[in-house]
Symmetry: none
């Protein structure tokens, strides 16, 4: 497959007004070469998370259109929500999928950031792999104190944007643009209503308290179902596979004599991760994703198109 394909997961600070939400996602539906994978608005967060895929040029064009809708309809000065944010368009991560390296996605993020500022007047910070200052790899550093604090502190050199004047856009704030790997959201539901069990297991699993690298994890209650959940984010599925996370949770759950009731993969997952998980459980030797018919057809169609 010669065509370059990326994923992009832009986050917008609008989770309540349906007509605005629909107007924001419209460009992703319409644009050729761009596929709207999924979008989820959360009222408490007052935030919209969109997942899309496609060719870099189409994705960028659609992003600019969507961003302009968001910028002219969202006023950060009046925005309230439980999720941290600094802009109407809060975060735009580019994710390499096919025939594109992380370096190329970083370059794409930088070029897009320049154009984005020129066309919208909203200043830009670069994060994760695209960070220009090492501390800005971490989104929480850029977003510290959120819009309200950044509005005052942006004049200080350590909080200057990477693109644009050291002042926020009056209503749309600033936007964080970057490049990162695919992230998989994976939940394991346990047959107990004791959230302590989920919290203890989460502590064992997550990297921050000494568990598996590249895995974030919390324990929480699913009230309506009378279950608890070990909720994980796998930040690098090539370094820590889902099956390893699941088997560690199964192992720890035995200590509490609690069964794993079911698991959920939330949102998108790359085919390679599915193949990897199957191969572990089935002891498959030498299996190659190119043996999957649809992946080969994707390759063939991609080649035909170029």
């Amino acid at each position: 497959m010669t065509k370059q394909l990326i994923e992009c997961v832009p986050n917008f600070s609008e989770g309540r007004r349906n007509e605005i939400i629909e107007a924001i996602v419209e460009p992703f539906r319409k644009r050729k070469g761009c596929a709207l994978f999924d979008y989820r608005a959360d009222k408490d967060h007052n935030r919209l998370v969109v997942s899309l895929g496609g060719e870099p040029d189409s994705v960028q064009e659609a992003l600019l259109e969507a961003a302009k809708v968001a910028i002219s309809n969202i006023n950060l000065a009046q925005h309230q929500g439980s999720h941290p944010r600094i802009g109407a368009v809060d975060v735009i991560p580019f994710v390499p999928l096919q025939n594109i390296t992380m370096e190329e996605c970083v370059d794409l993020a930088h070029r897009f950031g320049q154009r984005y500022y020129k066309e919208t007047g909203v200043p830009v910070y670069f994060y994760e792999e695209a960070a220009l200052r090492p501390e800005r790899k971490r989104l929480e550093v850029i977003r510290k104190g959120q819009y309200e604090a950044l509005k005052r502190e942006v004049v200080n050199s350590e909080r200057h944007p990477d693109v644009g004047e050291p002042t926020l856009h009056p209503s749309a704030g600033a936007t964080v643009i970057g490049a990162r790997k695919i992230l998989i959201a994976f939940n394991v539901n346990l047959g107990t209503d004791d959230v302590k069990v989920a919290k203890e297991i989460a502590k064992v699993v997550r990297s921050s308290s000494g568990g598996l690298s590249h895995v974030k994890c919390i324990g929480l209650t699913l009230k309506e179902r009378g279950l608890v959940q070990v909720s994980t984010n796998i930040v690098d599925y090539e370094k820590n596979a889902l099956y390893r996370v699941l088997e560690l949770i199964r192992m720890e759950a035995k200590r509490w004599n609690v069964p794993v009731k079911e698991t959920e993969i939330y949102g998108m997952i790359p085919a390679a991760a599915i193949v990897d998980n199957m191969s572990y459980y089935m002891q498959t030797s030498g299996f190659d994703p190119s043996q999957v018919i649809e992946l080969r057809l994707l390759q063939m169609l991609g080649d035909d198109n170029t």
Copy 2:
């Protein structure tokens, strides 16, 4: 996607001489509209399994070219291998993939069989959905006693070929051509050199002796590796999943105190089967193949093409 697409999985009786193997697959590489998905030669089987996809016309042209290479280089009278066979070109199944019905694939098999005999002089038997005699739906009926027995018995009316004179090609034997659903070839290698164990397990697994429906299975020796293999063909993966076959084999292997060393998925597999297997082992609830990034991209590219 309006284009007709088929899969084809020709099996050739050559698994050892690399230069012949490469010469056989060359036409599949070169022909436009035809994609060489995969090819695997097995020294013990002394057999080459090719998997290709593409447009019906291109696939047929490439098949004829490849068959002529095989026919002029393989002598069944001297051929030895652990896999049953009756011809240099042993089996050619056509499989509907996109925008083509099973009936159209049957028709294609019949027309191709006539042309194949005319151009090569190798007699043809039709099998599976393309069978002209009901008992010939089953490949093993046609292949009974293999080349060595068929050579003598072909003169008997019940073993007459469907196309051609009732005599085998002196060096290339006969070829079985047909149409069928996607078939998954799945092998389970056991940590013993006692072929009796593999044969006993195969008997339990295969539908013909009372095992799982839609599953064919034989036990054989992998001499070079000092292992035995339970070699299965899953004829309808929607009715009997791979994981069920594997778990039944694991269960039976315990009776012999023999470990499952590894498994092999031989050739192509549809994405739905991989998702299904992963979901079983990972207890995944409500997982939808449209969550797989590449499957969404395939949909997008397919739509763009029409």
